[in-house]
C-alpha cells in the first residue's frame, strides 16, 4: 500500500478524465478482450480443449459456435486463441486463417485469401489447378515440414459461417470439412454463426463431413449477474495511475448501481436484450457525458443515455413532418381503420382529406391537388408508406396502392408530441369516423 502511494503522482482532473475515457472506450468501442470470458466457463473449456488437441496432438476437428448477435462468440474464440498462443510450441507451429462471410463472398476470393494468409503466394506462383480441392490440398501439402510425417496445424476460422453456405455447391465448406475428416493435415474448422438452423443450410454431403460439435452461447444471465457486469464494465482497474481518483470513481460507480432509477433502467434494458453490445451502447452514451466539469457517471447520465437509445425513430421522423403531411397520415390512419388494413391509393387519401377540410377544419386551408401530391410523395420517399407491389406496374401514381408503415399508437403518440398541432386536426385524429 505504501509502495503504491509513493509512486502516485496525483494527476490533474482533466488528465484523469481523459484516461478514463481512453480505458472505457477501448472496452465499449473496440471490444477489448476481458481477462476471462464471463459466465461461459464450460463453453470456454470445451473450445480450448478442442483447439489444443489440434495444435498439440495434430487431431483434426470441426466445431460450430452458435449464439445470437452480441452474445460473445468472437470474444470467446479470441480468448481461447489468446490463451493457446501463450504456449511457446503452439505459437511457433500453428497457422491461423481468418475468413468472414461478409468479405469472402465466393470461393475463388476465399481461396485467394487463404493462400495469402498462409503466405504461400510465391509457392503457388502461376500454377494452374484443375479443381478447388486440388488447390486446397496443394496448399496444405506445402505446409508440411521437412520430415514429412507432420505438417503444421491450421485453424480455419469462419466468421458469419451461414453466408458460406450460400456459395455455389458449398465447395469451400465441403473441402475444408473433408480435410478435417480425413487424416491429411491437422486442421480445425471453427464456424461462428447466429443461425440456430445452420445445419439445415448445409448440403447432405457437407453435413455428413461435419463433426456435429456445436457450442451454444444462449445466455442464461440473470438480472443480478447483468448488474454485476454493468458494474465491472464501469469499474477502473487497479493499474490506473491516480489511485485516489480511481477509488473515488469506483466508489461512485458502486453508489450508482444502488440507485433505484438506474436499476429500473437496467431492468428494462435487460428485458429487451441481455447482450453485451446493447449494454456497451448504453454505457458509451453515458460515458460521453463525462467531462472535467462532470467527472463521474451520474444517474442522470444513464437516464439521458437510455432516453437517447430507446427513442422511437419513426416518432422522431413524424415530429418533423409539415402539417399537411401529418394530415395525410391521419387520413391514412382513418382509411386503415375503416377498411381494416386494406391498401389505399392517393385518391382515397385525398378524398378523406377533402372531407375533413370541408366539414370541420378552421385552421387548414384547402391546398391544390399537386401540392398534396408533392406532400404524399415526400412521405413515400421517407418510406413511411410503401407501394404494395414494388411500384413497377403501369398504374397512374394517384391510383397506386399503398400501405401505411405506421401503427395506430405511433400516429397518436406523434400527434401528442407534435409542436403547435391545431386542435381541429387533433380532434379529427381522435374521432372514430373520418
Amino acid at each position: 500500500m505504501s509502495k503504491r502511494k509513493s509512486k502516485d503522482a496525483s494527476l490533474p482532473v482533466g488528465e484523469c478524465v481523459s484516461q478514463v475515457q481512453r480505458i472505457m472506450r477501448e472496452r465499449f468501442c473496440h471490444q477489448k478482450l476481458p481477462d476471462k470470458p464471463y459466465g461461459l466457463d464450460s463453453q470456454y473449456k470445451h473450445l480450448l480443449e478442442l483447439l489444443r488437441r489440434t495444435a498439440v496432438h495434430g487431431e483434426s476437428n470441426s466445431v460450430l459456435i452458435v449464439g445470437p448477435r452480441g452474445a460473445g462468440k468472437t470474444m470467446l474464440l479470441r480468448c481461447a486463441l489468446r490463451e493457446l498462443l501463450e504456449l511457446q510450441e503452439v505459437k511457433k507451429n500453428v497457422l491461423q486463417v481468418h475468413l468472414s462471410g461478409l468479405l469472402q463472398t465466393d470461393d475463388r476470393i476465399a481461396l485467394k485469401e487463404i493462400t495469402r494468409q498462409l503466405h504461400l503466394e510465391n509457392v503457388v506462383g502461376d500454377k494452374v489447378f484443375g479443381s478447388f480441392a486440388e488447390n486446397l490440398v496443394f496448399l496444405l501439402e506445402a505446409l508440411k515440414k521437412g520430415d514429412k510425417s507432420s505438417s503444421r496445424p491450421v485453424f480455419f476460422i469462419l466468421d458469419e459461417f451461414d453466408l458460406f453456405a450460400h456459395h455455389k455447391n458449398q465447395t469451400l465448406l465441403y473441402n475444408l470439412l473433408d480435410v478435417s475428416q480425413s487424416a491429411q493435415a491437422p486442421v480445425a474448422v471453427v464456424g461462428l454463426t447466429c443461425r440456430l438452423d445452420m445445419l439445415e443450410l448445409l448440403e447432405k454431403r457437407v453435413k455428413s463431413r461435419f463433426s456435429h460439435r456445436q457450442i451454444h452461447l444462449l445466455s442464461s444471465m440473470t438480472f443480478p449477474q447483468y448488474q454485476e457486469t454493468f458494474r465491472s464494465e464501469l469499474t477502473l482497474p487497479d493499474t490506473f495511475p491516480d489511485s485516489k481518483f480511481s477509488q473515488e470513481w469506483n466508489l461512485s460507480i458502486k453508489k450508482l448501481c444502488e440507485d433505484k432509477s438506474v436499476e429500473e433502467i437496467l431492468q428494462k434494458s435487460f428485458n429487451c436484450s441481455k447482450d453485451f453490445r446493447s449494454l456497451h451502447l448504453l454505457l458509451l452514451l453515458a460515458l460521453s457525458r463525462v467531462s472535467v466539469s462532470n467527472p463521474t457517471v451520474q444517474a442522470a447520465d444513464i437516464l439521458e443515455a437510455n432516453r437517447m437509445s430507446a427513442a422511437d425513430s419513426k416518432a422522431n421522423i413524424l415530429h418533423g413532418l409539415s402539417i399537411l403531411e401529418l394530415c395525410l397520415i391521419i387520413a391514412m390512419k382513418h382509411l386503415n381503420d375503416i377498411y381494416e388494413g386494406e391498401p389505399f391509393n392517393f385518391q382515397m387519401v385525398h378524398n378523406e382529406f377533402k372531407k375533413f377540410i370541408q366539414r370541420k377544419s378552421h385552421s387548414i386551408h384547402n391546398f391544390e391537388k399537386p401540392v398534396v401530391i408533392k406532400a404524399f410523395e415526400h412521405l413515400l420517399q421517407l418510406e413511411l408508406i410503401r407501394p404494395v407491389d414494388g411500384g413497377v406496374c403501369k398504374v397512374q401514381r394517384e391510383y397506386q396502392l399503398m400501405r401505411l408503415m405506421l401503427d395506430h399508437t405511433q400516429v397518436m403518440e406523434a400527434l401528442q408530441r407534435y409542436p403547435q398541432c391545431p386542435t381541429d386536426v387533433r380532434q379529427w385524429a381522435v374521432s372514430s369516423f373520418g
Binding site: S18, R25, E26, L102, T105, S313, M348, P370, Q396
Partner: protein, 444 residues
C-alpha cells in the same frame, strides 16, 4: 443555448469558430463531439445519423471534421454507382492516390479491406479515422454484404476507424434479414419555426435593413410553413420572391414600416408561387422572367406536359371514349349511349351498388370492342373503322395516355386502361364541346 462547444484535445479557437458556423445545431454538434471523444480515443464502430432533409446532418459532421482537421473521407452514395467507386474515394482520401490504384477492376469488399489493412499497417492511425457516407439508403441497393461489412469495418480492418452513415430514412428499414452490427443511432430533429426564421434571416440583403428581411421571412413562413419545412427549399423560395417584395419600396409606394401594405402586395404572389414554382411546374428562370414582365401572368405556360398536348380530332374522341369506358361500369353503357334503352327503372338504376366511386379506385380495363362502340356513339359524324382509327389508338398508347393491359400478344382482343386525370379529360372535351360530366356514372 449552450456556452459553445467544449471538448478536450481540440484547440479552443477552432471549436468556437465551428460553433459559429453551426447556428441552431449546437446541441447536436456537442453530442457528436462528445461521442467522438479526443482524437486518439476510440469511437463507436458505426454511427447512424438520421433526420429530415436539410436539418444539417452533413453540414454539422463535415464542418466538425474539416475544421478540427480530423482524418476523414466523405462520400456521397449518389455518386457511387458501384461499390468500387466508393472504395476508391475512401482510399484516396485516407491514404492518397497510391492506394487507390492498387484496387483491381470491379473490386470486392475483400479487396478493399485487404488494401486498407496493408496501408494501415504502414501508417497506423494516430487519430480516429472517419468515413462519412451520405444518402446511406442507397447502400441497401448495392451488394448485400456491403452494409453489414461497413458497419463493423473497425473489426474487419482492425484500425481505429468509425463509419458514419447519414440518411433520411429510419434505421429499421436498413436492418438485413439475419441482423447485423447495430450502429449508434443519432437523431437530428427538425428546426423549429423560430430557428428557421433565425437561419433564413441570416441571408438578409445588404441594401435593406435586417428587420425588413426578417419580416419578409415571417410572411413567407406564414404561407409555406404548413406545406414545406425544408430549409433549402424555403431559402430558394425566399431568394426568388424577395425582389417582388421590395417592388413597392423601390417605386416609393410604401415605406419599410408599412408592413400591412407590403404583406398585401406579396401574399397572393407567394400563394401563386406555391402552385407553380414550388411544384416545379415552371422553372425558376421562367418565374423570374415573369416577375419582370409582371402583367401577363394569366397565360402561364408551364413545364408540365398537360399544357402542351395537341391531339387530332378523332384521337380526342377516342380518349374521351376510353375515359368513359374506364370509369363507367359496362352495364350502364345502354343507358348512356342508346337512344331507346327500353324500360329501366330510373330509381333502380340510380341505386349505387358500389360504396366507393370509380374515381377513387382508379380506371378499369376494357376491351377494344367496347372502346370502339362508345367512340362511334359519342363522335358526331359517321366514322368508318379504318386503319387510321386503329393507328390512332396505338399512338395514344405510345403517348402513354392509354396503357395496354396484359401482354402484347393478344391480337384479337387487346385490353386498355385510360391513364389520364379528370382535369385533363375535361380540358380535352371542352375543346370539342363535349360535356363529359353528363356521361360519367360517378357524377349522376
Amino acid at each position: 443555448m449552450l456556452a459553445g462547444l467544449q471538448c478536450p484535445g481540440y484547440p479552443e479557437a477552432k471549436l468556437s469558430s465551428v460553433s459559429e458556423r453551426l447556428p441552431c445545431r449546437e446541441g447536436q454538434a456537442g453530442t457528436l463531439l462528445a461521442l467522438m471523444g479526443e482524437p486518439e480515443q476510440y469511437c463507436f464502430p458505426s454511427i447512424f445519423i438520421y433526420g429530415h432533409r436539410a436539418t444539417g446532418k452533413s453540414h454539422v459532421i463535415l464542418t466538425l471534421l474539416k475544421e478540427l482537421e480530423v482524418p476523414h473521407a466523405a462520400v456521397s452514395c449518389v455518386e457511387c454507382v458501384s461499390a468500387g467507386l466508393l472504395f476508391e474515394q475512401v482510399l484516396l482520401a485516407m491514404f492518397g492516390s497510391e492506394s487507390a490504384t492498387l484496387l483491381p477492376r470491379s473490386p470486392s469488399l475483400s479487396d478493399f479491406v485487404r488494401i486498407y489493412r496493408q496501408f494501415c499497417a504502414q501508417e497506423p492511425a494516430q487519430q480516429t479515422r472517419y468515413i462519412v457516407l451520405e444518402r446511406a439508403e442507397l447502400l441497401r441497393d448495392m451488394e448485400a454484404n456491403l452494409l453489414p461489412g461497413l458497419l463493423r469495418l473497425q473489426e474487419l480492418v482492425d484500425d481505429n476507424v468509425t463509419v458514419i452513415l447519414l440518411s433520411e430514412i429510419v434505421w429499421d428499414k436498413f436492418r438485413p434479414n439475419t441482423g447485423c452490427f447495430e450502429p449508434l443511432l443519432l437523431h437530428f430533429p427538425d428546426y423549429t419555426k423560430a430557428e428557421l426564421l433565425q437561419i433564413l434571416s441570416l441571408d438578409s440583403n445588404p441594401s435593406y435593413s435586417p428587420e425588413l428581411y426578417s419580416s419578409y421571412i415571417n410572411i413567407l413562413l406564414g404561407v409555406f410553413y404548413s406545406v414545406c419545412r425544408d430549409l433549402r427549399e424555403l431559402r430558394h423560395l425566399a431568394a426568388l420572391n424577395f425582389p417582388k417584395f421590395c417592388e413597392p419600396l423601390e417605386k416609393g409606394e410604401a415605406k419599410e414600416s408599412d408592413t400591412h401594405k407590403l404583406w398585401r402586395n406579396i401574399e397572393p404572389h407567394l400563394k401563386r408561387a406555391m402552385q407553380t414554382v414550388y411544384l416545379r411546374e415552371v422553372s425558376s428562370v421562367q418565374w423570374e422572367q415573369q416577375q419582370m414582365e409582371e402583367k401577363e401572368a394569366t397565360a402561364l405556360r408551364g413545364l408540365s406536359a398537360h399544357a402542351h398536348v395537341e391531339l387530332p380530332y378523332y384521337s380526342k374522341f377516342l380518349l374521351i371514349a376510353a375515359y368513359l369506358a374506364s370509369y363507367n361500369p359496362a352495364r350502364t353503357d345502354r343507358r348512356f349511349f342508346l337512344k331507346h334503352h327500353g324500360k329501366i327503372k330510373k330509381t333502380n338504376f340510380l341505386k349505387k351498388h358500389e360504396k366507393t366511386s370509380n374515381h377513387l379506385l382508379g380506371p378499369k380495363p376494357f376491351p377494344l370492342d367496347r372502346l370502339l362502340a362508345i367512340f362511334y356513339s359519342v363522335v358526331d359524324s359517321r366514322v368508318a373503322p379504318t386503319a387510321s382509327v386503329f393507328s390512332q389508338i396505338s399512338s395514344l398508347v405510345t403517348l402513354q395516355l392509354l396503357t395496354q393491359v396484359g401482354h402484347d400478344d393478344q391480337l384479337d382482343s387487346p385490353k386498355y386502361k385510360c391513364a389520364v386525370s379528370l382535369d385533363f379529360i375535361s380540358a380535352i372535351s371542352r375543346t370539342v364541346s363535349f360535356d363529359i360530366v353528363r356521361y360519367l356514372y360517378d357524377f349522376l
